[in-house]
Symmetry: C2
Subunit: 451 residues, 2 copies
């Protein structure tokens, strides 16, 4: 544990003790003395009842600030302990995009009551219609838009009167009379411009923007590629709807990476953590395990077709799993590379034949390398050249299967509009297992008389 | 393929054709008309010879800008086609942190010659000593530092005279007489401050900073947690050395996610892509496949201890892989959850016993669920209640093994300072395979007389 972690742990314990003793002011003070990012971690370290007690004594602003930074599931849990009236106050002070996310996560009835209770819903209402994982769901309405003919001096005057906590304080978005996005001015250009210069003269008209229904993964890719710290979101008429900021994109990239890792490992729920309740873990993991078990039983059926062969040559049972398993491992390598390359926009399904050729070639060479090693090892161990040859050959064959399956399954899923990480592992393992057993045992039955 | 991708593909083809016909000016113009982010993608779509031809005709600024945005490996490849003199000019114009990365990637001799050829090495020299994957290696020296007693008007005057392409244009870092970091001023605060206000009066003194040797993953976590768009880097005396910007962190998060995905899938080289040369793919993939093969041969040895049993009861060979495979799948689920939770700082090895208990419990319940399904299925298929029971029991046992291995291996690797993603897959599979076969075949040998 790092010093910093240790320190937070101690702070959490002191706050917990203060709350238990009813010294709420002291607990609150200890909590607010943390940097905002540390507040999140300290809050998470408190037990559920202590969290509720602390929230009762924080003022609305501090609560809103905390909710903005907690992860969505944590915010939801904390929000449910608040009274409706207080929840409405907090929602008003939260950043509009975070408030919209929370309203979307709350039970519909509670969300609608909270909205009715809120006095100012101007920022949050336009955001409620967009799915969470799109540009519209990620954007904030908390940005500065100016008309093309605003002067520098007027723009600076505007800056004086806006909330200093605004999310996008360093860019001014310039719109025409129809509210269509026409450019962007960085604060640096504003600072050094003469007071009477108009925005249209100092703005950069080459502004990158996205439509509200753009998937968040595509948004992240654009912001990374162009090194953007904010990205405007427009409607079909190019009217400015909102702005996505760099911190949202950090969240997106982290979430998408977790999603890919989980899907490749057959964990179906991206919110799962080692600490998640057992029931949730079973809900997220068991269905995928069942699916894998079905494919394993199919592979078992393939073996059962060779049962009399195995009864005669039991040593085949010793080595069959090496063929299936190494094919599976090689295929996982290809799948991981394709999932990542597709996520980062580095390959497109159009290149399929060239990429397939390369993976088959790699599969063949890996097959030779592993096949020779296993063949030699088994020959030295068992002294049977026929078994060693059949094993080596089967490994080469299954590695080629691995190259084909490891390419076509992820690219095929992508081509039909599915997430390549979602079912690749199951499908690819089903193929390398079943065909691995089949190739090995078929070859063995051909050479049976020599064993 | 999206419209945008198609457009870039067409642009790349037009540029390629122009280069082939010797119309270099036209090629250059087509290229420079792209947005900088699109330039990168178009450049990557060109064949190697065309890339070299294009680089010969771009001016130094455009080349430097392109190099700043390419990935490290791509920059290296492109840089090696430049003459030493031109390389030195380009390095001078590149962002200091990117230039330092490139110098670190070049062959030492070439890097040293390029440094001698450069006229201005002030920005890049201080960066060369830091490893790539630390705060020092990620920071830029291209930032604005002002003394505490600078006035607003003086600060704005400074802004007029700095390079408009500076990496961190929206924050001014405030230092004391000993160059120690004492606060930060956002450009918004500067714009709205009276001209004679001093920096120390308007700065935020609660500035988060890191030491130069902080690992990039920790840096990313701090910036995400605190929603920072830039993070100052200091030495042991708290003197300001450089600044890490949000785009660097996007790269870090993306790289670390790729690294985790690759390591879990036994791909040893994070730079590998489906298009990488066959030789590189073999170098990055084969060693891990060999390691897996060794553990598979060990598992085969475990089976070989039961060879006479299998010769007598060949049906065991049909189902043994179901036990081993489903244990492996369940363990992969746990490993993925722990790797991700550790990467995001959500669990610490100190919680090991509680977390172990939960995974063992989940393993037991998943074992019951899958064991009953497989047991019933096999009973219906083969009509043998003893085989079905042994199989079901072995699955429960191996799922518990999976829960233990899937927890202790990643947490153990973390506890000894290793990356939990690095060897988890191999170690965990070795355990669930070998013990899976052992449990199933041992149970079968106990109940052998009933089959």
């Amino acid at each position: 544990m790092s010093d910093r972690q240790l320190q937070r742990q101690m702070t959490a314990e002191r706050i917990g003790a203060a709350l238990e003793e009813g010294q709420f002011e002291q607990a609150k003070e200890l909590f607010l003395n943390q940097l905002p990012g540390d507040q999140v971690e300290v809050f998470n370290l408190l037990e559920d009842e202590r969290q509720t007690a602390l929230l009762e004594h924080l003022d609305v602003d501090a609560t809103a600030d905390l909710f903005d930074r907690l992860e969505d599931a944590e915010t939801l849990e904390a929000a449910e302990s608040l009274s409706l009236e207080r929840l409405a106050d907090v929602l008003e002070e939260m950043e509009p995009d975070e408030a919209a996310d929370l309203l979307g996560d709350l039970p519909p009835e509670q969300a609608s009551l909270a909205l009715q209770e809120m006095e100012d819903t101007e920022g949050v209402l336009p955001l409620l219609g967009y799915p969470d994982e799109t540009a519209g769901g990620r954007m904030t309405t908390d940005f500065i838009a100016l008309h093309r003919d605003t002067t520098s001096a007027e723009a600076i005057e505007r800056l004086r009167h806006i909330d200093p906590d605004i999310r996008t304080p360093y860019y001014l978005f310039i719109v025409d009379r129809e509210d269509r996005l026409s450019g962007v001015v960085g604060l640096r250009e504003l600072v050094v411009a003469a007071p009477d210069r108009r925005m249209e003269a100092i703005m950069n008209p080459d502004v990158t923007y996205v439509a509200a229904d753009t998937d968040q993964e595509a948004v992240a890719r654009i912001m990374v590629r162009h090194d953007l710290s904010s990205l405007p979101v427009v409607d079909a008429q190019r009217q400015l709807l909102g702005v996505i900021t760099h911190d949202d994109i950090l969240d997106v990239i982290t979430e998408e990476a977790t999603e890919d890792i989980y899907r490749l490992a057959n964990v179906g729920d991206v919110e799962l953590e080692p600490e998640s309740p057992v029931r949730e873990q079973l809900r997220g993991r068991l269905p995928w395990l069942y699916l894998n078990t079905l494919t394993a039983l199919f592979a078992a059926w393939v073996i059962s077709r060779f049962e009399s062969l195995i009864a005669a040559v039991a040593v085949l049972a010793v080595f069959q799993s090496v063929v299936a398993g190494q094919g599976g491992n090689a295929a996982s390598q290809s799948v991981a590379m394709f999932v990542r390359a597709l996520a980062l926009g580095k390959v497109s399904p159009a290149q399929v034949w060239r990429l397939l050729g390369r993976q088959v070639w790699v599969g063949f060479l890996q097959g030779i390398a592993v096949g020779v090693m296993v063949g030699l090892g088994v020959f030295l161990w068992r002294g049977d050249p026929y078994l060693a040859s059949v094993l080596g050959l089967a490994i080469v064959g299954n590695m080629i299967v691995a190259g084909i399956a490891g390419t076509l399954v992820p690219l095929g899923l992508k081509a039909i509009g599915q997430d390549p990480a979602l079912a690749s592992s199951v499908l690819v393992t089903a193929l390398t297992d079943s065909l691995g057993f089949f190739i090995f045992l078929s070859l063995a039955s051909i050479f049976q008389s020599y064993f």
